[in-house]
């Protein structure tokens, strides 16, 4: 099988995000970048799929600035075979154009199946995979909880709100958005890190892939959310506390 994984490089979850003084974007100075955590589940699922299907190959694709190659190396160290870095040429984040470019790469590569995270944890847009599926006219299942693949077909389980599950049977090629709980991502082992050095990384340019698509989003200003006011601790008899709570909810918070 030809297996693809889409990986996005994002700021570490523990990063203190700072906005540039002129509000034009995020201050990347000193920020540590990592593979988006949901994408780690995608990488693991791709590797498991490879291991279950002899002769398969896993290709990572990542769109972004040149620093993305570090995250690509992490995916290669985990066990992916080769990679494509799509240089964003400073075009700025835009789900539509990103999906156009990725769809073109996926089509050209002729993948049988593509895995990605259900969303990237930086802007949490959660729409690139669906757009890619749409552009390719492929089936897609997001928030994937379980997957079985055999003979060109897949049975995919996804969680929906309220604790219910949906089970889809579909024909490959398809794209799957992976969620926590699907698997336990492996570590980039030390021997894996060494092997990753010599695995091929091809670089493409977004301008050669996106066709006539143009950004749909325009970023005008970045601001930090206002600071949360400190909470209130009530004291006294339980009965009085309840009364006071109801009063506060009604009169101050105005939610009742």
């Amino acid at each position: 099988m030809k297996i693809g994984v889409l990986v996005k490089q994002v700021p570490d979850t523990e990063t203190k995000i700072k906005v540039l003084d002129d509000g034009s974007g995020i201050d990347e100075n000193g920020v540590k970048f990592i593979v988006s955590p949901y994408d780690e589940f995608a990488i693991e699922e791709a590797l498991k799929t490879k291991e279950a299907n002899a002769g398969s190959e896993v290709t990572v694709a990542s769109l972004g600035p040149s620093r993305c190659v570090e995250s690509i190396r992490t995916a290669l160290a985990m066990g992916c075979d080769k990679a494509i870095h799509i240089d964003d040429e400073g075009s700025g984040p835009d789900s539509y154009v990103t999906a156009k470019a990725l769809a073109k790469v996926i089509g050209d590569q002729g993948f049988d199946v593509v895995f990605c995270g259900k969303q990237a944890i930086d802007d949490d847009m959660g729409q690139v995979p669906q757009l890619v599926a749409e552009f390719l006219a492929w089936p897609q299942v997001m928030i994937l909880e379980n997957l079985e693949i055999s003979e060109g077909k897949a049975k995919a389980t996804r969680r929906v709100s309220g604790g219910a599950k949906e089970v889809y049977e579909l024909t490959l090629p398809a794209i799957f958005g992976c969620d926590k709980g699907l698997n336990t991502p492996r570590y980039a082992s030390l021997p894996g890190i060494m092997k990753a050095k010599s695995k091929p990384v091809e670089t493409l340019k977004i301008s050669d892939l996106k066709g006539d698509a143009n950004n749909k989003l325009e970023y005008s200003n970045f601001r930090m959310p206002p600071e949360k006011a400190p909470g209130k601790v009530l004291s006294g008899e339980v009965g009085d506390q309840v009364k006071e709570l109801v009063r506060l909810l009604r009169e101050e918070a105005k939610v009742l």
């Binding site: 523990e14 203190k16 000193g30 570090e70 190396r73 992490t74 160290a77 492996r186 570590y187 980039a188 082992s189 030390l190 021997p191 894996g192 890190i193 060494m194 050095k197």
Partner: protein, 593 residues
């Protein structure tokens, strides 16, 4: 790489900046990725079961070692031919530094990859290496090192454990008891030292399942509760003759050389410990409020954080410098040479002084940083629920094992003087030069930029260290080797000279790379450290000379005048520098450099 050989301790006589040192910033992507895997592993696998580790719940720590083995964390330093990755010391520094989030487990891990594995790696013959190293690399076997006995701790060669050849000549029969052995209850293979016929100090590779080998109960310790520390009991233990490690009667070579590497590895782990304490502390002081404001807003707390960061910067600089220096030296050797390991050992021995410095400085830095961390936490720092409490208790052992800090301190001038006697390092010539410079004046160097004055101070501090050592040696001649007070003081001068030389060396290299405005924190840490240290050394030198003069006022007057000529310290305003260090640390919620 063709490598570069630098003579051990040559920095003492070399002007600041003349030698390019290895700095942490020069690590390549692969080395950083290795460090990241160690961090990921410890934070995701080890920290969540920290309580179980501390209670020594059966199997927890050992399973984690084996899991670490699966992802390659035990194999980095072992050659490829024996199931390892053949990585250099800089790489293993990155691993040691990043495996430090759970102190007890850190000790188990460091013991396994260090003193548990290294004796076989450096002294084993081909068969022994083939038999044991792949299993140590994968974690199938856990390693330990048994040198200490009840009656022989610092005096390691006084071991009573005895080995006698069996009548059929196939086994050595060992009798004795080893004490305080890390990984004692868990180890599958242990390097044990015993005296053949009660005389010839020798290393043996002992498997836990050999007949007559057992371990005692766990010691109740002050800290590192989750690590195993037991006796290893040898009762007519039958050790096959092919398990003799190295030559009969040459066990001391193994013991001391392995400790040399162990000492630097311990220092490297201390760097990580310092960083972890800073992380816990800055997060805490941002949360906790008193007098209506976060502790972090108090200048008193900021000063503590700045001091923690400064100490960590110096320690980190030192460990990477040592590792890079050793790598450079080993790179001059031919890997295919049959004597490669033996020659590598020569290189390790060459840097015995630096290894002892790394051990002493690293362990004391972590103690200071952990102490400040507890203090910044107030009462909560004394409560077990807060990790900093554990770092404080765990840190203490570092000054005791792998050679107490006193033993290591005495190795420093002891080795230096021995080398000077043999003419390997020109201390005597330098003393003569200093004496004539005292008459004619010292030349200043002119290095453009903000650190010029500090460069000159460190150059002078080197001369001060040599001068005071010369004063003592001139008075006591060969007897100096028994004058511990002087030796310990001399060690202090030499250690601090290495610390300052390393810090300023790193910062100068960064300045050249990134420019002054991108090195604000490094410059601040370097300036403060050098100023504080030189001021302290100045006082210390006067006290030292007063002790040498022993009431002879005229002699003291002469020394005192010379000291004043060699080093002058003008205090600098450190408030803004420290505030910046603290601010950046609070901002990053960790070590900011």
């Amino acid at each position: 790489m063709s490598g570069q050989f630098r003579q051990g301790a040559s920095w003492l006589l070399t002007e600041v900046g003349k030698d390019k040192i290895f700095i942490a910033e020069d690590m390549n992507d692969e080395q950083k990725a290795f460090g990241q895997t160690a961090t990921d592993f410890v934070t995701k696998e080890v920290i969540p079961v920290s309580e179980k580790i501390e209670k020594k719940e059966a199997g927890v720590s050992v399973n984690l070692l084996k899991k670490a083995g699966e992802i390659g964390l035990l194999m980095a330093g072992i050659p490829e031919a024996y199931g390892g990755l053949g990585m250099n010391k800089v790489t293993t520094t990155a691993l040691s530094e990043n495996a430090t989030h759970q102190g007890s487990w850190t000790v188990s891990y460091m013991c396994h990859t260090g003193i548990g594995t290294l004796p076989i790696l450096y002294f084993g013959n081909k068969e022994q290496k083939e038999k044991y190293l792949p299993k140590l690399a994968s974690g199938e076997f856990i390693g330990a090192y048994a040198l200490t006995e009840a009656g022989s701790g610092s005096d390691a060669l006084a071991a009573k454990t005895k080995a006698v050849l069996s009548p059929d000549g196939k086994h050595y029969i060992l009798n004795g008891e080893k004490m305080f052995i890390t990984n004692g209850a868990w180890a599958d293979v242990i390097t044990v030292f015993a005296k053949v016929d009660g005389e010839h100090f020798t290393g043996f590779i002992v498997e836990k399942d050999f007949p007559g080998v057992s371990h005692g109960k766990e010691e109740e310790k002050m800290g590192i509760h989750g690590s195993s520390t037991t006796t290893i009991v040898l009762e007519d233990a039958k050790i096959p003759v092919e398990n003799v490690l190295g030559e009969i009667g040459k066990g001391h070579k193994i013991a001391f050389n392995v400790l040399n590497i162990g000492r630097w590895k311990l220092g490297a782990a201390c760097v990580g410990g310092c960083k972890r304490v800073i992380e816990h502390t800055v997060k805490y002081v941002k949360e906790r409020k008193q007098f209506g404001q976060p502790l972090a807003d108090f200048e008193a707390i900021q000063m503590m954080i700045a001091d923690m960061v400064i100490k960590t910067y110096i320690t980190e600089s030192m460990m990477y410098r040592y590792a890079g220096c050793l790598d450079d030296a080993i790179d001059t050797l031919d890997k295919t040479d049959a004597e490669y390991e033996k020659k590598s050992l020569k290189m390790i021995e060459e840097y015995a002084i630096e290894a002892s410095i790394a051990k002493v400085f690293g362990s004391e830095a972590l103690d200071e940083v952990a102490d400040l961390g507890v203090q910044a936490h107030g009462g909560y720092g004394y409560i077990q629920e807060y990790p900093v409490e554990r770092f404080y208790r765990n840190s203490r052992i570092n000054r005791i094992f792998e050679g107490t800090n006193e033993i290591n301190r005495m190795i420093i001038p002891g080795t230096l003087l021995k080398r000077a006697m043999k003419g390997e390092i020109d201390l005597m010539g330098e003393i003569q030069r200093i004496l004539s410079q005292l008459k004619d004046g010292f030349a200043e160097v002119d290095i453009p930029g903000t650190l010029n004055n500090k460069v000159n101070m460190v150059n002078r501090a080197k001369k001060l260290a040599v001068y005071v050592s010369g004063v003592a040696v001139q008075k006591y001649m060969a007897d100096i080797k028994d004058r511990q007070s002087f030796l310990l003081d001399m060690a202090d001068f030499i250690i601090e000279v290495y610390a300052m030389d390393t810090a300023i060396g790193r910062t100068l290299q960064l300045l050249e790379k990134r420019g002054e405005d991108q090195c604000e924190l490094e410059i601040a840490a370097t300036k403060i450290y050098i100023n504080d240290t030189c001021a302290r050394l100045l006082n210390h030198a006067r006290q030292f000379c007063a002790n040498v003069a022993k009431g002879d006022e005229e002699a003291f007057g002469k020394y005192d005048k010379a000291i004043g000529r060699i080093l002058e310290v003008t205090p600098i305003c450190t408030l803004d520098l420290k505030a910046t260090l603290a601010e950046k640390s609070l901002d990053k919620e960790g070590y900011p450099i």
